[in-house]
């Protein structure tokens, strides 16, 4: 994770798009919070510049 997120950053991809958390199966509220938080971040970042259409437009 430490390495990959920095590699993404090096390649110009927002490292916030990658996330790993350990949540126990007994911790439903934490899971919900985590997912909501992540979805919020992703919504702020907008669609990935590497979506299929964008890449094909350049190719």
């Amino acid at each position: 994770m430490i390495v990959l997120s920095q590699m993404l950053d090096f390649c110009g991809i927002e490292k916030e798009r990658l996330r790993a958390r350990w949540v126990s199966s007994a911790e439903a509220p934490e899971f919900v919070e985590e997912i909501n938080d992540f979805v919020d971040i992703l919504k702020k970042l907008g669609p990935s510049p590497l979506g299929k259409e964008q890449v094909e437009a350049v190719a």
Binding site: L8, F10, L50
Partner: protein, 267 residues
């Protein structure tokens, strides 16, 4: 330098301490990897230099791995530069070679080659010929980092789009020995599609190189699309160094931090 190497190979072969020596040969106007055995002519021995220093290097460690898989009980000598020796240490660590069955013949790289490679350590620990050149700072990575986020993105996207998926970077790599390769796993990399999925293909390989890459630069030289793969792996190596204090192949028998469970070891 080459005479010293010839002498050494001759000694090793004639006293029977090795079965053969993996090195390079000048043949039909080309340079090729080869195995010298007792009684072979050493006149055409080559150190991998033709027009400029080190422009005809081959993955000799890969040849060594192939040979020792076929003849696991034999002892082989091998011609190594600084990077190749780091490769040997890596292959010992990953149980692909037995240090008891390898006799390295170390040569130092000239300053010009070290500069071109931005090599941190252009000499092997176990050196028998050549003058030690100075290690060079990795300016390439810093240069790439000085660009803005979006510049970096369009740069790498442009580079990765050129990929023709020849798998040459993997095939030439002396540290790639797995019988099953993640880049052929259809769950990660779709079969028969171009351009490759960006950045998955190249970053999967970069991640697998994180604790292996010895910065020999053969992938860069083998890439038909001229993708700066070496720069990418230099960055991975830099992260490994700053985060874990680990440099692939710099210390013999050093374990990779990626193979340990639990908190990061002390730097």
């Amino acid at each position: 330098m080459i005479d010293q190497v010839k002498q050494k190979i001759n000694d090793l072969l004639s006293n029977g301490s090795v079965k053969g020596v993996v090195a390079l040969v000048h043949t039909n106007g080309n340079v090729a990897p080869c195995l010298y055995q007792k009684g072979d002519d050493l006149d055409k021995l080559c150190l991998g230099d033709t027009d400029s220093a080190g422009d005809a290097r081959y993955p000799l460690n890969k040849v060594l791995v192939t040979l020792s898989r076929q003849y696991p009980d034999e002892v082989f000598g091998v011609l190594v530069r600084g990077c190749d020796e780091r490769g040997l240490y890596g292959l010992y660590r990953l149980n692909q070679l037995d240090p008891e069955r390898v006799v390295p013949i170390g040569i130092a790289c000239p300053q010009s080659l070290a500069l071109q490679c931005e090599c941190k350590k252009p000499w092997p620990d176990d050196m028998m010929a050549g003058e030690t050149s100075e290690g060079i700072d990795q300016k390439g990575v810093a240069n790439a980092e000085s660009n803005s986020h979006s510049e970096r993105f369009s740069y790498w996207k442009g580079q990765f789009l050129k990929c023709v998926k020849c798998y040459g970077c993997r095939d030439i790599c002396p540290m790639c020995f797995c019988r099953e390769c993640s880049l052929e796993c259809e769950d990660l990399v779709s079969k028969g599609d171009l351009p490759v999925e960006i950045p998955v293909f190249h970053l999967v390989r970069a991640m697998h190189m994180a604790d292996r890459c010895i910065d020999c630069g053969l992938c860069d030289e083998a890439c038909p699309a001229d993708i700066p793969l070496r720069l990418l792996y230099k960055k991975t190596a830099q992260i490994m160094n700053t985060e874990f204090g680990f440099t692939s192949g710099i210390k013999k028998y050093e374990k990779s931090p990626l193979s340990l469970m639990g908190p990061a070891p002390e730097k």
